[in-house]
């Protein structure tokens, strides 16, 4: 009650003291904004990352190469990027379906389901890993049903992909959803009136609208999958050459106090991820331009 009373008292007081002659601008100008953006990005992103790269410079070229190109490490790159790619593709398809259903249909419990989508964001990934392992291991609810058929989902590469699908799904749903909400239904109706089949409507009307958002979601799910450690580690089995992800290699190197080797592998991952994100961004802007030219 008391705090509510403060607000109306304080506001006019502040207005009187300021007495602006020019209309007050809430947002600062370009210079300040850009300065702040660069400063903030430096502080939060660039400085830590450059520290990482600088640490790898303590290695000679041969040492660097030995650290990042040994067979175990190369096997882990293939696994990490491959599993993240598969998981992101799966998420792109099913995430789109989920977003579609959530936007286009009304049904009881929709709010709850909508909230469920965000859970993988909020859950500590280690908890997710342990929960998935408990479900999928040979004696778990799902694992015990599949075991008689010789299907094993935990402690091998399958488990890694499943864990990455779990952590990646909100990225796709949450990027596609707002775009779908904004998409004008009238366009689809017009397409139908003009004689388009359902498939043609989707292919030529809906898909071009949501493609950039879908690509963004895909890219974010992929990037998340590449860096994921907590959930994968419990379900992977962690066998060298088979199911050892790159973040585990990095932890392994740190365990032997090989700081430089660990940062070298991390740098390789960083460069690879950055390159892929750049490509996806380029794809996206190309897509957007093409979409703009069409309409």
């Amino acid at each position: 009650m008391a705090s509510v009373a403060i607000a109306p008292l304080d506001v006019p007081a502040a207005g009187r003291t300021a007495t602006p002659r020019t209309p007050k601008r809430v947002l600062p100008g370009f210079n300040i904004t850009l300065g702040f953006t660069l400063f903030y990005l430096c502080l939060i992103v660039l400085i830590p990352l450059s520290a990482l790269v600088l640490k790898t410079f303590t290695l000679t070229w041969e040492q660097f190469w030995a650290a990042v190109a040994s067979p175990r490490v190369v096997a882990s790159y293939q696994l990490t990027f491959g599993a993240a790619l598969i998981a992101a593709l799966v998420n792109a398809f099913f995430g789109l379906l989920v977003a579609w259903v959530l936007v286009r249909y009304q049904f009881p419990g929709k709010k709850v389901i909508d909230a469920l989508v965000d859970l993988p964001f909020a859950l500590p990934t280690a908890v997710a890993g342990i929960a998935l392992t408990a479900l999928l291991a040979g004696n778990g609810w799902i694992g015990s049903l599949l075991e008689p058929y010789g299907i094993s989902l935990a402690f091998n590469r399958n488990g890694i992909v499943i864990a990455l699908i779990f952590v990646g799904i909100p990225f796709v749903v949450r990027t596609v959803q707002p775009v779908l909400e904004d998409a004008e239904k009238e366009l689809e109706e017009a397409a139908t009136c003009l004689g388009a089949t359902r498939w043609q409507t989707f292919r030529f009307v809906i898909f071009p609208t949501i493609a950039p958002a879908l690509l963004t979601g895909f890219a974010m799910a992929f990037a998340r999958g590449v860096g994921e450690y907590g959930s994968v580690i419990f379900i992977a089995g962690n066998m060298p050459m088979v199911s050892e992800i790159t973040p585990l290699i990095i932890i392994g190197k740190l365990e032997q106090y090989d700081y430089a080797g660990a940062t070298a592998v991390a740098t390789v991952m960083l460069v690879a991820s950055f390159a892929m994100l750049l490509v996806i961004n380029a794809l996206q802007s190309w897509q957007r331009k093409r979409g703009g030219a069409q309409s």
Binding site: M1, S3, A5, A134, L248
Partner: protein
């Protein structure tokens, strides 16, 4: 307005009291390994009481626990620990190499600065259905062995070295030991990340016939999963895994807590602390107390790292660093 003021006042009062409390009493930070939480909780209660009795002053011990080498890295990178109590010598050696603890830390306290030790043994399922008695049983076809990945856990490094040393203890050569270890790791379906992870895989996921782990883990298994789920098997020989302790000179010089830190670590050698260790299935260095708990600590032929590997540092280099013996198990077909 009134409510807001009251809240602010209350907060200020709490902050003041809290800071007064901190100022009035010395606090030590003990940075330790993952599974020693319960042990040091009991030790700290005993130590604060004994310290109050002998000096009349209050002291508070804060604990921090995580994987041993992760903790060593944290202390090296600036975590203000007064003392470190680890489960692998290489972790303290690393801190000595960076000058955070004294170079001659092993000489600062009795028994090579290791008040307690442990060893690796086997846990098998109740009744030992596969009849596992010794190391050679682990390489039989169809036996699944759960161990920790030596790359990510000290527990795994000890298990590997214990397996290697068991061949040497019988008079075998290094080549025979390498062959044995290679066969053993062929029987490993999952490499766990750390000690607790291995226990979970073995008991909750129900994978494997035998788990190689620290002797002290038996107690926590009985406590968490109920007694009688597993039997512990003492093989014919195993490795001596000393739990080294050291004063972090960098911190105590800054905080002026050298005396208290030393008193704390010396306390670990008293009969009282050694008894507490024995109750947690951690081997006391005092032989009389070790004997008293012979039921827990069945006689087992213990070899040290120096016997077959030169030292732990040497073993780390030859076996676990990149391109070492362990990597060859998986990369050379």
């Amino acid at each position: 307005m009134k409510l807001k003021q009251q809240v602010t006042l209350a907060l200020a009062a709490i902050a003041l009291t809290a800071s007064n409390l901190v100022a009035a009493q010395t606090a030590l930070l003990n940075v330790s390994y993952d599974v020693s939480r319960e042990f040091y909780k009991d030790i700290n209660t005993a130590f604060t009481a004994s310290y109050k009795k002998s000096t009349g002053k209050d002291i508070k011990i804060d604990q921090s626990h995580a994987g041993s080498s992760a903790q060593a890295r944290a202390v090296n990178d600036g975590l203000d620990a007064d003392v470190v109590t680890m489960n692998t010598i290489t972790d303290v050696d690393f801190l000595a190499s960076t000058g955070v603890v004294a170079k001659d830390w092993t000489k600062k306290f009795p028994s090579n600065a290791a008040p307690t030790s442990s060893t690796m043994l086997f846990l098998v399922r109740n009744g030992n259905p596969k009849g596992i008695k010794d190391w050679v049983d682990l390489i039989k076809p169809g036996i699944q062995v759960i161990v920790v990945n030596p790359k990510t856990g000290g527990n795994g490094r000890m298990a590997y070295l214990a397996a290697w040393g068991s061949v040497r203890a019988k008079g075998g050569t290094d080549a025979q030991a390498a062959e044995f270890v290679a066969k053993l790791y062929k029987n490993v379906p999952v490499l766990a990340k750390g000690g607790r992870d291995a226990t979970t895989i073995f008991l909750q996921r129900n994978i494997g016939d035998v788990l190689i782990t620290f002797e002290s883990e038996v107690i926590s298994v009985d406590r968490e999963f109920g007694a009688g789920k597993v039997d512990s098997i003492h093989p014919s020989s195993s490795i001596l895994a000393e739990n080294p302790v050291a004063v972090v000179e960098r911190t105590v010089a800054k905080k002026g807590t050298a005396e208290q830190a030393r008193a704390y670590l010396n306390f670990l050698y008293t009969d009282e602390a050694q008894e507490i260790a024995a109750q947690h299935a951690i081997r006391p260095s005092n032989p009389a107390i070790l004997k008293k708990y012979a039921n827990t600590f069945k006689p087992i032929k213990l070899f040290t790292a120096a016997d077959y590997f030169g030292s732990f540092a040497e073993a780390q280099k030859v076996h676990f660093n990149d391109g070492g013996q362990f990597d060859k198990l998986y990369t050379v077909k």
